[in-house]
């Protein structure tokens, strides 16, 4: 187990370097970011030269990258164009997005798995067809449509929620945006659980457990569900990263000042420091989430061992 974890951690290094380098190149390929700082006017050339020097943009790209990575390893993510430290931006953005992601994941877990189990156990029933249709609709409708509809109906027409989330972004205000963010993944979790449950429901160990006279809820939860969760956990694990980075649409609609908002602004202003910094953290989140998923396998299915 320990060796497995170390091997996985070591594997992260090339992935980490590769992704950051790619992002670094992609942001830089768009051209000189300083040119856009003065609006429709020409910046005065002396200030441009000075700013370029201050941000290290006068050096060759490989050197910029090396310096940047050197700083990152000492915990310095640089300064955004508005004079704020990127680490401070992260400090304000990540907690919000993590809260939003948690809300989304909780919805995925609870609603997705419950619907999945119910439909998996009652295949072909009225409930199954209904949920099947519903998931298809949710998957087919883009998030921004769901989001804008929820905002318009719940926020403006029925006045159940506030149409925008306040800057503190407390949990209760994040329920609807979280649900919107979770919607598509939620549908996938439902479908995945359903298939997995349906497949395992006919397996020998379930029949044995039932034959032993175990109560039905115990058979379903301890035996059937536990073995059926592996694909679902895999999906949710990868989804954590996707939700955090992909919350941009939801965050824009509901005015949430999270990672998506900062990334969007960073890209629009071509702020290498912000974009690479945020993506670096997202990459780490993604990698760690995947590692945790792999480790969870052993808990769910003791036959899986990491030598």
């Amino acid at each position: 187990m320990g060796r497995y974890v170390i091997r996985r951690l070591l594997q992260m290094i090339p992935v980490f370097i590769g992704t950051t380098l790619l992002i670094f190149l992609m942001v830089n390929i768009q051209g000189d970011p300083i040119a856009g700082l003065c609006g429709d006017k020409q910046c005065d050339p002396a200030t441009i030269t000075q700013l370029r020097k201050d941000f290290g943009l006068d050096k060759p790209l490989w050197q910029q990258y090396l310096t940047y990575m050197g700083h990152v390893f000492s915990g310095n993510f640089g300064t955004a164009f508005n004079g704020e430290k990127v680490i401070d931006l992260m400090g304000s953005a990540f907690p919000v997005t993590i809260r939003l992601t948690l809300v989304a994941i909780v919805f995925e877990l609870i609603i997705g798995i419950v619907f999945g189990v119910i439909t998996g156990l009652r295949r072909g029933s009225f409930v199954d067809t209904g949920v099947l249709l519903l998931t298809l609709v949710v998957i087919a409708v883009p998030t921004f449509v769901t989001g804008l509809l929820a905002q318009l109906l719940l926020g403006v027409k029925w006045n159940i929620i506030e149409p925008s989330v306040s800057s503190e972004a407390p949990l209760d205000e994040l329920i609807v945006p979280g649900l919107v963010l979770a919607s598509v993944s939620l549908a996938y979790v439902t479908r995945l659980t359903r298939t997995s449950i349906a497949e395992n429901a006919r397996s020998d160990y379930v029949r044995t457990a039932t034959a032993k006279g175990l109560p039905r809820h115990r058979v379903v939860i301890r035996h059937l569900l536990r073995n059926s969760l592996i694909p679902v956990i895999t999906f949710i694990g990868t989804d954590i990263g996707a939700l955090m980075g992909g919350a941009i649409v939801t965050e824009r609609i509901f005015n949430i000042h999270g990672v998506g908002f900062q990334l969007y602004q960073g890209i629009l202003r071509q702020n290498t420091q912000t974009v690479v910094g945020f993506v670096t953290v997202l990459v780490i989140v993604f990698l760690v989430a995947n590692l945790l998923v792999d480790l969870l396998y052993a808990v769910l299915d003791p036959r899986i061992r990491y030598a």
Binding site: D44, A46, N159, P163, S167
Partner: protein, 550 residues
């Protein structure tokens, strides 16, 4: 009928929202406000939409609208532009006098302080200006100080600065100082209303990061709390000595990720003021807000600029070609159908906010800016057609929905020349890249150019854009006659005569068609029924201190 139901809706939602959030300040504020006539800080607070400022919030470093809003709330300079007439009026200046349009004596009014109690003196200005001009401070508005003598020493084009203060600024007393310019510039005092010329307190220099976290100024409001990237709460500064005291308890500027969300919040009653109504809501705005919508001209003009560094465009047939293009554009049609009348067809190269006395001349462009398919076609073919048979209009695709109007303009031109492949838009991915390509002189055809005035002077619409080698002369237009007239106008001590001479210079711009004027941009705003007396100033920033709550 629709409008009426919408209004009822808005009123209901506002009432419910008030009740739901148990927002006592709204109702009690109006009560106390009437008894103590607005001076009490407990009267209502205006919540307004805001965008994250692009640069650090320093007066000489802020060159866009979002940061500018804050500066307008917390700073007052020597002059202030009248929110209605755009005239520069004395604010902190007791007097600014000159005999030769080059040396100025300034007396700062007594009795003004910063909100931390520090007195505003001549030094507060001189130190601030020296800070703004110094190269090492990277201030993006440094060039505003370029006319002051000694600027080239503290801010050389290349190399290191050889001085830390400008020799043209001398403190002569507690409240007096002198300015010496490096050239004659009669309307210079009128530029001093620009935020870059604001005074700064000592704490700005001694504890810079603390100041940035919570800016201290001398305006009608003080910053109560600033959460970067999400909200700035400003409250009325009760001891503000100026005549333009705040008529409300304060302003909460809320950062919105999207102006559509801000608009939704306004309709739902969670927000009082939106100063950027999204384009796709313009159709509903009248019924949604029941008349609580403003659409007034701002000091912004959009033009098509040309690459005069390219032989194809600067050649002998250039004038005909550029005029032909101008006449091929159906401005009223585009401003009505695409912009829903939030733009006004341009008929000169300045802006209506200047007013007649300020130099605005409606119809100066005349037939050259009026759609005339036959004449345009003849002009273009007389000029030998487009260089290479093709016309590309470059624009940035990331903001401002420029694609829509560029396509419409091209469509106009294609119809005129009878070739639907003659004109195409050339999008550039980001604004920074667009500016970059312009700066490197890579344009091969006309490109989008927008100009937002820094101060309401005709000089600001002409000199930076068309003077040889000027800072924003992106197309490198150069005309000795124009340069001569501008220099003459700047040396003119009589303001009316100066304006006249600038108008003659504008005549040169017209005859040469140095840029094709497209339309004047309006500022648009919508507000809730909780507030009244809302207006936009000539810079399209809401006049926050005049807003009444309740």
């Amino acid at each position: 009928m629709r409008g009426a139901t919408h209004a009822k809706w808005a009123a209901c939602t506002v009432a419910v929202a008030l009740a739901a959030t148990a927002c006592g300040s709204g109702s009690s504020g109006s009560g106390s406000g009437s008894s103590s006539s607005g001076s009490s800080g407990s009267s209502g607070v205006v919540s307004a939409s805001w965008g994250d400022p692009q640069n650090p919030l320093e007066p000489a470093n802020t060159n866009e609208v979002q940061g500018g809003k804050v500066l307008d709330l917390i700073f007052r300079g020597l002059k202030r532009y009248n929110p209605k007439t755009a005239k520069a009026e004395n604010a902190l200046a007791q007097s600014i006098t000159t005999k030769d349009a080059q040396n100025f004596n300034v007396t700062v009014k007594n009795g003004w302080t910063f909100s931390n109690g520090e007195k505003v003196t001549a030094k507060s200005f001189v130190n601030a200006w020296n800070y703004g001009a110094a190269l090492k401070n990277n201030q993006k508005n440094a060039s505003f100080f370029q006319y002051i003598d000694g600027y080239d020493k503290v801010h050389p084009e290349t190399g290191k600065a050889t001085a830390t203060t400008m020799s043209g600024l001398k403190v002569t007393g507690a409240q007096t100082f002198t300015i010496r310019l490096s050239q004659k510039f009669s309307t210079f005092p009128d530029t001093l209303g620009y935020a870059a010329f604001s005074p700064l307190p000592q704490t700005f220099f001694t504890n810079h990061s603390a100041w940035l976290a919570k800016p201290v100024g001398n305006g009608p409001y003080q910053v109560q709390k600033y959460d970067r990237g999400s909200q700035m709460s400003l409250r009325t500064w009760k001891k503000y000595p100026g005549p333009d005291k705040a008529r409300n308890g304060g302003v909460d500027l809320k950062v919105y990720t999207d102006n559509n969300t801000a608009y939704t919040d306004l309709v739902a009653g969670n927000l009082d003021l939106v100063d950027d109504v999204p384009a796709n809501q313009l159709r509903n705005v009248k019924s949604d807000l029941d008349g609580r919508y403003i659409n007034t001209p701002a000091g912004i003009i959009q033009t098509l600029a040309f690459p005069f560094y390219d032989k194809a465009w600067s050649g002998p047939n250039g004038v005909k070609l550029r005029t032909g293009i101008s006449m091929a554009i159906n401005r009223p049609q585009i401003t009505e159908t695409i912009f829903q009348k939030t733009r006004t067809p341009a008929t000169d190269w300045t802006s209506p906010v200047l007013g007649k006395t300020g130099g605005f001349q409606a119809g100066l462009c005349g037939s050259k800016c009026t759609f005339n398919a036959a004449a345009a076609k003849k002009m273009i073919s007389d000029a030998g057609g487009f260089p290479g048979g093709k016309l590309t209009i470059t624009y940035n695709a990331d903001t401002g929905s420029h694609k829509v109007w560029v396509d419409a303009v091209c469509n106009n031109i294609n119809n005129v020349v009878g070739n639907d492949k003659a004109c195409v838009g050339r999008p550039v991915g980001t604004f920074a890249d667009f500016r970059n390509q312009i700066g490197q002189h890579k344009m091969t055809g006309p490109f989008r150019a927008g100009w937002q005035m820094d101060y309401p002077l005709i000089q600001d619409f002409l000199q930076p854009l068309y003077f040889t080698g000027a800072s924003s002369n992106d197309g490198q237009f150069s005309n000795p006659q124009f340069d001569k007239l501008v220099n003459q106008a700047n040396a003119e001590t009589d303001e009316a005569k100066a304006v006249k001479t600038f108008q003659q210079a504008e005549g040169v711009v017209r005859d040469q068609m140095a840029a094709v004027p497209l339309w004047y941009q309006n500022g648009s705003a919508g507000f809730s029924d909780k507030i009244s007396n809302v207006a936009l100033n000539p810079f399209s920033v809401p006049v926050y201190n005049e807003i009444k709550v309740g």
